[in-house]
């Protein structure tokens, strides 16, 4: 099959602006500077204001293929979509696209607050490239998908932000392009709506539509794409099987992050109590940062004191390296009281066992005053806990934890056991 999308040595340069809007005066100043440089025979262009969002990026997408793009913020993912949808042009290189592009990028593109939902459906639909007739034909379905029902004739300025986003997505989901671009869309809406969105994407994938998906949700990349492109700082780091690429990406994230141990110098002696060192240890008290689910892990916290502190409350919190906060627990949850602390010491937080799903988790720590709840010391991003393990089959699990569980059917129950309802409740 012929590729329907071809990127050949595409680079994109942005000029970073120092101030707010550039004004004529800035340009006059820049011109004067350039003239001075030229007079001084200093041919070198100023480089400090230039940023390469993409550098020499080449890839192909074949018809019916679904491709995921991953990478840190600012790696150039959105720039690729912008170039594909022709919002902006590459600085060099060439892009060829065979077919009509539709972007599920902008939810609520062109909505006017004063206009009704109905008027906005037609407006936004035509902005996204639908013909009036197509919109008319899909109108009922759009309204149903969005679940705005009777409010369709209300000006959208009176919509809740959820309704607004749902209507925007509903329009976009009814686009029928040859190549569909999706950017981070899954982050919007409530759970029921997310299910609709995911089903829509699965449906598109099943119907053999070419899709390009940009997402921070790595499980979506694993579940919905056949090929992953990993970008770092505007360049392609790797292309290939989504499972493999996502793993390599996670490992690289862990490497860039704080490792298994980190220390810091004491601040000015303002703080009565302060964390000085954090380490990750395994079951044998050896420093380590890679763990398998089911193993024991310990977060060791060393602290120093300027003055005695009564019952400080320590909090350990975990954040997915991809962004979302995963959870935190404090000593106060377990009624664990350090009492009156008078000298430097060590506190150990034990995970026995590690129940996290495969991924990398950044650990942050804080100390609060027990009575006021005031945070006296904060040690953000102290260490990274990397959890490895076997790959999970598509759609077999999601989220951050695999919590203890078992499955049973009625057959497994003792004779005369309660029927299906109990099975469901369990």
């Amino acid at each position: 099959m012929d590729p329907v999308v071809q990127f050949r040595n595409v680079s994109k340069r942005y000029r970073l602006r120092r101030g707010w809007y550039p004004s004529l005066r800035d340009h006059a100043a820049a011109l004067a500077r350039r003239a001075k440089n030229w007079l001084a025979r200093n041919g070198a262009e100023e480089t400090d204001e230039i940023f390469w969002a993409l550098r020499d990026v080449s890839f192909e997408v074949e018809e019916g293929e679904s491709v995921g793009i991953i990478g840190a913020n600012g790696a150039g993912k959105s720039t690729i979509l912008k170039i594909l949808s022709r919002v902006t042009a590459p600085t060099s290189g060439s892009v060829s696209v065979d077919g009509k592009i539709g972007a599920l990028i902008e939810v609520g593109a062109g909505f006017h607050p004063e206009l009704s939902g109905r008027e906005n459906v037609f407006l936004s639909g035509s902005i996204m490239g639908m013909k009036r007739r197509e919109i008319e034909r899909r109108f009922e379905s759009i309204v149903e998908f969005a679940g705005v029902g009777e409010f369709i004739d209300t000006p959208v300025k009176f919509y809740s932000s959820g309704m607004y986003i749902r209507l925007g997505f509903a329009i976009a989901a009814h686009l029928d392009p040859d190549i569909l671009l999706i950017d981070e869309i899954l982050a919007v809406g409530d759970a029921a709506f997310q299910v609709k969105c995911l089903n829509k994407i699965a449906e598109l994938k099943a119907s053999g539509k070419t899709t390009i998906l940009v997402s921070h949700e790595l499980s979506n990349i694993r579940n919905y794409t056949q090929k992953a492109i990993w970008l770092t700082r505007g360049q392609i780091a790797a292309v290939g099987d989504p499972d493999e690429i996502v793993d390599r990406y996670l490992q690289s994230l862990a490497i860039q992050r704080p490792g298994a141990s980190s220390q810091r110098r004491l601040d000015s002696a303002q703080k009565p109590i302060q964390i000085t060192q954090v380490r990750l240890l395994d079951g044998n008290d050896r420093a380590r940062d890679l763990f398998c689910a089911g193993e024991d892990a310990t977060v060791e916290i060393r602290y120093d004191l300027a003055a005695p502190v009564a019952s400080p409350v320590f909090t350990v919190s975990f954040k997915d390296v991809q962004g979302p906060h995963v959870g935190s627990v404090a000593t106060s949850l377990d009624g664990f009281d350090l009492g009156r602390v008078t000298e430097p010491g060590i506190l150990r937080f034990k995970l026995s066992p590690v129940l996290f799903m495969k991924g990398a988790y950044v650990v942050s720590l804080s100390i609060r005053e027990r009575d006021t709840g005031k945070i006296v010391d904060l040690f953000p991003n102290a260490v990274t806990l990397v959890v490895g393990g076997p790959n999970i089959p598509p759609n077999a699990a999601s989220g951050h934890f695999i919590f203890p569980h078992t499955w049973e059917t009625a057959d497994d129950l003792p004779a005369g056991g309660v029927a299906t309802a109990a099975g469901r409740a369990g």
Partner: protein, 260 residues
């Protein structure tokens, strides 16, 4: 140029939708709705009549001053609206420009579309005023269409330049009201072209809007044809401007999303 037009034709529904959006949004939550389109030219007519006719006793080619000035005001209003709103239309639609692709001139074409609705209403009032002052209906009125075409071509070329400059330099937006004011007094809107000293006329006519405004007045109230020589000069200027600035606009639009 041809491929640009073809693409515009493919996006004709978008021009319509955005034009309707401008129009609907402008008069939503107003009691008088689109009749506001009459307020601006009518109030200008009253003020100018008071100042120029009653106080300054300006000659108006023997025509009652209100209809004399309204005949040009209607079209001047259209020019001001398309010129200033067209100039700022790209920045006004910045959120779209940053996110969705469409030929960028659609931003100001939609303005032309919505301004045309205002024009139609104030033009209807012009016909009523003509009847009130018992001006005869003549074939000369048909000249309005080609004169309007010259005006639109000129404004399109102008806005191609100013709107793309406005994307980069917001200074343009601040200068607009001033430019509009000066431009109106530099054009025969409130006074007759015959009041301009002959020695100044060659310079005066460098402004294409001068001949355009004069032409409207001739065909609408003076009941003669336009001065074809002047009008042809305006057409030439308009065509040259458009021929230069529209392709330039199309070239720089590739990067609007980066700088807007």
């Amino acid at each position: 140029m041809f491929c640009h037009l073809k693409e515009l034709y493919e996006h004709r529904e978008l021009i319509l939708s955005l034009g309707l959006r401008e129009l609907k949004a402008r008069y939503k939550q107003t009691v008088f709705g689109i009749s506001w389109a009459l307020v601006q030219p009518l109030s200008m007519m009253l003020i100018l009549t008071l100042v120029f006719s009653r106080i300054a006793k300006l000659p108006s080619d023997g025509i009652p001053y209100p209809i004399f000035v309204y005949s040009t005001l209607v079209f001047w209003q259209f020019f001001t609206l398309t010129f200033s709103q067209g100039t700022t239309s790209l920045v006004g639609n910045a959120s779209l420009v940053r996110k969705v692709y469409f030929p960028r001139e659609i931003c100001f074409l939609a303005i032309f579309f919505s301004a045309a609705a205002d024009l139609a209403i104030s033009f209807a009032l012009l016909l009523v005023l003509r009847a009130y002052y018992a001006l005869p209906l003549t074939w000369n009125l048909l000249w309005i269409a080609p004169i309007l075409a010259v005006q639109v071509l000129f404004t399109l070329g102008l806005v191609s330049l100013t709107s793309s400059l406005h994307v980069r330099f917001r200074d343009i937006g601040h200068a607009l009201p001033l430019v509009n004011q000066i431009w109106m007094f530099a054009s025969p809107v409130a006074y007759s072209l015959s009041a301009v000293p002959a020695s100044l006329l060659p310079f005066y006519l460098l402004n294409p809007m001068a001949a355009i405004m004069d032409s409207y007045r001739r065909v609408i109230v003076l009941n003669t044809g336009p001065n074809l020589e002047y009008l042809a000069a305006s057409l030439l200027t308009a065509a040259v401007l458009f021929g230069i600035f529209y392709p330039l606009f199309k070239r720089s639009e590739l990067h609007f999303a980066d700088v807007i």
